[in-house]
């Protein structure tokens, strides 16, 4: 009895938590260097930054940088493009996977085919845009396969990746194609988690499969649909950077340039560090507001907790 008592005392002794702090130390240091230090560096958004003499020597200019970027037409159009792409992406990234999940769920007999479809649809998710960009060029390029098909059908070739009418739809559609497997799996998991007795009750009430879908399945996964929509809204400004960077070119800037790629060119090619930092900061703040609202809503409506 006495031995157990002394062990218990040891456990509650606050001294023991030093090992905790030590274990967390590497992560804390790394986070400080690579997350917090750059955060402090954001001060250059308010400075007329010159690499020499760097942060402490550059002149403070208040909101001038922000005023300047908002009158750059390229920046304004990049905001417009970002919002348009995000708008369609949010809607389609829910509808397409949801439809697929519902359709797949209707397959009851051919289990191997069902697994095959799920496996294959998930595949594009794992390839980076460095690979998929090449694939897209091969498909949509001027001498690519799709244009070849069009020619065979008697339609004239289309410069997909160089056209301001086609570039944005291609960005949106190929991104949905890449990501649809992910949400589809979540929806499938939610559907299979539904109480099967509900379906039996519906059957007894005379519902055929279609009615069952409408009255049992969809209401059953409504929380998940809402949750994913809200979370998607949260990342409204953050998507597509790598994809657009790989696929775009100066010809399609007016319809395809998004905030992140605009900032990238501004900072890295034109060395306008202050302006780029200001634009980036603006986007971060708006993004944070959206993400914050999204998580708050998700918490309220679906009991979603991050920590």
């Amino acid at each position: 009895m006495q031995i157990i008592k002394s062990n218990e005392r040891k456990k509650n002794n606050p001294r023991n938590t030093t090992s905790f702090h030590l274990m967390l130390l590497p992560a804390v240091i790394l986070t400080f260097i690579f997350c917090y230090l750059p955060l402090f560096g954001l001060v250059m958004a308010f400075q007329d930054f010159k690499p020499f003499p760097s942060f402490f020597g550059s002149k403070f200019v208040g909101l001038d940088n922000f005023r300047y970027i908002f009158q750059m037409p390229g920046f304004i159009s990049s905001i417009k493009n970002t919002v348009i792409i995000a708008f369609f992406k949010i809607i389609l990234s829910i509808l397409v996977p949801l439809t697929l999940a519902l359709l797949i769920n209707e397959i009851t007999k051919h289990v191997r085919y069902k697994k095959f479809v799920q496996t294959v649809i998930f595949l594009p998710y794992f390839f980076s845009w460095a690979i998929l960009g090449g694939v897209m060029q091969q498909l949509f390029g001027f001498d690519g396969m799709i244009n070849d098909l069009l020619e065979a059908l008697g339609i004239s070739k289309i410069l997909f990746l160089l056209s301001n009418t086609w570039f944005r739809p291609i960005v949106i559609l190929t991104d949905i194609w890449k990501l649809m497997g992910y949400n589809m799996i979540i929806f499938l998991a939610a559907i299979t988690g539904l109480d099967t007795s509900l379906y039996e009750v519906a059957k007894i009430d005379g519902a055929n499969r279609f009615k069952q879908l409408y009255y049992v399945t969809i209401p059953g996964i409504r929380p998940m649909i809402i949750l994913l929509t809200i979370l998607g809204l949260g990342s409204i400004l953050n998507a597509n950077f790598e994809q657009v960077l790989i696929l775009y070119n100066p010809v399609v800037y007016s319809s395809g340039d998004i905030i992140d790629t605009f900032v990238f060119r501004l900072g890295i090619y034109n060395s306008q560090y202050s302006l780029a930092a200001a634009a980036g900061l603006f986007k971060s703040i708006v993004s944070f507001i959206f993400v914050g609202i999204a998580y708050w809503c998700a918490n309220k409506f679906s009991d979603y907790r991050v920590f």
Partner: protein, 309 residues
């Protein structure tokens, strides 16, 4: 007692499918197969192009089967250095990055999984990490930090900045939390300290979660190309994905601005359709090979994460 109930209790009723239901199944089958094909055919096409002769490939005549079968593109690559050199850089990145990531995540998930009662400072750490999940310094300030640390153009610029990922830590933390407290208490009674308990009890049990995180990290490091472009000054130091991106992106990029005429000419050659397709396919190969594992663990991870909410 109505007749419906009586029926159900006596003989199993053979349920006949209505014609409209049968039609639905056919349409369903067609739609799903079409969608599945869009996920396979583009890659088949790239493979076919890589195995075709150059003129046919350039003319766009190749669809899903090679024309004029030749392995020239692959032989060319074996001869040239750059492709496989970049594979080496990526391999190095994996060898360094994955263990460092896993170590940091394991070490921090364990304390964070303790209750507030046991670990009073936990609240501060939560806030500390939480902020980093939402705020970021952005491109330029991060670049400056890396430059001032003198790790530009080294493998550390690819491995260190994302070495600690709060999301993955949360994944493991939640898993740890679900481990019954009795196991830990038993270890304490046997005289083990926190570190021992982590090593001997928690880790062996967490294998599924660890496998998931391992694969997440693997895919991240293998696919990550932008940081390579940004932080490496010489194309020779590019990881595979960054090297691939130079073949694809339009000529207005940083890499080609720094190249000599000779290097640009080489880039032209290597960007040639069949050779480019060969490189794309080779880069896809590792992922395709481990795809069964990937798929299984990713699905598990996603489902557990979403169901738990």
């Amino acid at each position: 007692m109505n007749t419906k109930q009586m029926n159900l209790n006596s003989q199993p009723m053979k349920i006949k499918e209505s014609t409209s239901r049968k039609i639905f199944h056919v349409i369903n089958f067609i739609v799903l197969t079409a969608v599945s094909l869009t996920c396979i055919l583009p890659f088949l096409h790239v493979l076919a192009v890589s195995l075709s002769n150059n003129s046919d490939a350039l003319a766009g005549r190749v669809t899903f089967w090679p024309i004029g079968f030749t392995t020239y593109a692959y032989e060319y690559l074996v001869g040239k250095g750059e492709f496989f050199k970049s594979v080496g850089v990526s391999a190095m990145r994996l060898l360094l990055g994955i263990p460092i990531n896993m170590l940091l995540i394991i070490l921090s998930a364990y304390p964070m999984s303790k209750e507030n009662r046991e670990f009073k400072a936990r609240k501060f750490y939560i806030i500390y990490f939480f902020i980093t999940m939402f705020f970021s310094g952005g491109l330029i300030p991060t670049y400056m930090v890396i430059r001032n640390l003198k790790i530009l153009d080294t493998i550390w610029a690819l491995v260190l900045p994302t070495a600690f990922n709060a999301w993955n830590m949360i994944l493991l933390m939640n898993f740890f939390r679900n481990i019954p407290k009795e196991l830990e208490e038993a270890a304490f009674l046997d005289g083990a300290g926190y570190v021992m308990t982590l090593y001997k009890i928690y880790l062996p049990i967490s294998k599924p979660s660890l496998a998931t995180i391992f694969l997440f990290t693997l895919i991240y490091h293998w696919n990550s190309w932008f940081d390579g472009i940004l932080y490496m000054n010489t194309p020779a130091n590019y990881p595979l994905a960054s090297y691939l991106s130079t073949l694809i992106m339009s000529s207005s990029n940083k890499a080609s601005a720094n190249m000599t005429v000779e290097q640009l000419q080489q880039l032209m050659q290597v960007s040639d359709t069949t050779i480019r397709s060969a490189q794309i396919f080779l880069s896809m190969l590792p992922i395709l090979i481990i795809y069964p594992f990937l798929q299984r663990y990713f699905v598990k991870g996603i489902v557990v994460g979403s169901v738990k909410g």
